[in-house]
């Protein structure tokens, strides 16, 4: 079988989804860990230093390109699959199956993903574009200049509607991952039933804890829990 046949088959496309999905998950782990530095309550010193350290590593810079490619591959492939699968049944049922047999969020991955994408556009506009291109105000820590991303966060999250959009984005992510985490392993061919039970539970905890932690960041800032 040629690779072209592999990647254009229905199974190969799902392989791409699972692979890019897990790659995005691994990024989330790093991202949430780094951002958690805001809770050090040291006026952002630890967070700004950590962000600077990440931004100055070549490996991370290269991975950033991979990450962007990964997100677009995942989003495009996901939406294409959703559209193709939708067209497989032209006449629907008068009485739909609903949630018997599958949880609602597992059937709405395309919608949840789209919500995540919309959130990401705002997120890039808020942080990624200033930090990479248009510039961020500087702050001096130990007489060295650092991008004051912490200050930018405080400013951005002083707006209630931004906080609300971020929390909604995190809720979409939680549901997306509750289905996505275990599905990705299955897409990659992992079929041991004993470990899949563990993966399912780990996935649920991961989805809630990671998305919850992300959601608490804007909330903490808005409510003045960090300074």
């Amino acid at each position: 079988m040629k690779w072209s046949e592999f990647f254009t088959s229905s199974v190969g496309k799902k392989f791409v989804m699972g692979f890019t999905g897990l790659f995005l998950i691994s990024f989330l782990v790093i991202h949430v860990g780094l951002n958690a530095c805001i809770w050090a309550n040291d006026n952002g010193v630890m967070f700004n230093k950590a962000a600077h350290f990440m931004g100055s590593m070549v490996v991370i810079r290269i991975m950033e390109v991979g990450l962007l490619a990964g997100i677009f591959l995942h989003a495009i492939q996901g939406l294409v699959l959703t559209a193709q699968n939708y067209k497989r049944r032209s006449v629907g049922y008068a009485v739909p199956m609903g949630n018997t047999g599958s949880p609602w969020y597992s059937r709405w991955m395309g919608l949840l993903g789209t919500l995540i994408l919309l959130f990401l556009i705002l997120h890039w506009y808020n942080f990624w574009i200033p930090s990479r291109f248009t510039g961020v105000e500087e702050v001096f820590i130990d007489n060295k200049p650092y991008d004051n991303l912490y200050g930018l966060m405080l400013l951005t999250f002083s707006n209630w509607w931004v906080v609300i959009v971020y929390v909604l984005g995190c809720i979409s992510l939680a549901y997306h991952l509750m289905q996505g985490f275990h599905a990705a392993f299955k897409s990659l061919g992992f079929h041991n039933r004993k470990y899949l039970v563990v993966i399912r539970n780990v996935g649920n905890v991961f989805s809630i804890v990671v998305s919850g932690a992300f959601a608490m960041m804007p909330i903490s800032m808005k409510l003045g829990w960090v300074s």
């Binding site: 690779w3 497989r88 049922y93 008068a94 047999g101 299955k186």
Partner: protein, 254 residues
């Protein structure tokens, strides 16, 4: 269980043939015995329709004992009706009570076009099996059944997958109209056994290609198929198929 009679309202999908549009027809059926099977209830209705000079409801059935997989009916929002691990022919009227309304629809999937009323064309499944769901056995003397040792756990797993009766409920239940549960059962059944080893790679590749050609969707691991499978085929078989496909891709020389 206490025997009782009931009066029911049936809403059944009626469609002349593949090309015409169908519609629901409502029938009142009275004095239905709780001891009847669901298909017997339809038989009685059909006798009445015939005596009234109307066309009886067309539906597939054969063994009526849950082993052939013909009896495809989507009943009140569930393939094969409300009971777990059950076929329509094994559904009994004691599942219902007096005054119930029952909506009966055919399997819905573009790959399963309606032939008439509740009958759908499932020959796509046959073509998928023809594409790779077989093993090669040399003619000659019959080999002793114990000549090839099979690990017990694998034999059991293979057997559990061989239970698939190709009824198509997985396709009917899946939001993507995916045939993956069916196909993965066939692949796992054969690939887990030493007799299935020679065609292991070509089997999965050819079957997936045929499935895609037939117009079934891909798997999103939602689990609706597993929840309605009369033979309790596990969704992990689909994950196994993904693994088989990946290894076929990785080890191929082309």
């Amino acid at each position: 269980m206490e025997h009782y009679n009931m009066n029911l309202t049936l809403k059944v999908w009626r469609q002349q043939n593949t090309r015409t549009a169908g519609r629901f027809e409502t029938y009142k059926v009275s004095e239905v015995s709780s001891e009847m099977s669901f298909l017997e209830m339809i038989d009685v209705l059909n006798e009445r329709l015939t005596s009234e000079g109307k066309e009886p409801i067309a539906f597939d059935h054969d063994c009526r004992e849950g082993i052939c997989g013909s009896c495809a009916m989507y009943i009140n929002g569930r393939p094969h009706g409300p009971w777990h691990a059950n076929t329509t022919c094994q559904l009994h009227m004691r599942a219902y009570k007096d005054g119930d309304t029952i909506v009966v629809e055919p399997w819905r999937a573009n790959a399963f076009p309606v032939i008439k009323d509740l009958m759908v064309d499932r020959s796509a499944f046959d073509r998928i099996v023809q594409a790779g769901g077989y093993i090669s056995v040399n003619t000659g003397n019959a080999v002793d059944a114990n000549a090839v040792a099979v690990e017990k756990e694998k034999a059991d797993e293979s057997f559990a997958n061989a239970m698939c009766i190709a009824c198509g409920a997985c396709v009917a239940a899946c939001k993507n109209s995916s045939a993956m549960l069916f196909m993965s059962a066939k692949v796992a059944h054969l690939s887990l056994l030493p007799q299935g080893a020679p065609e292991r790679n070509t089997r999965v590749v050819n079957m997936v290609a045929q499935m895609d050609k037939e117009g079934f969707g891909s798997c999103t691991f939602q689990g609706a198929c597993e929840s309605v499978c009369p033979k309790e085929i596990k969704i992990t078989s689909i994950a196994r198929l993904h693994g088989e496909y990946l290894s076929a891709g990785l080890t191929s020389n082309k």
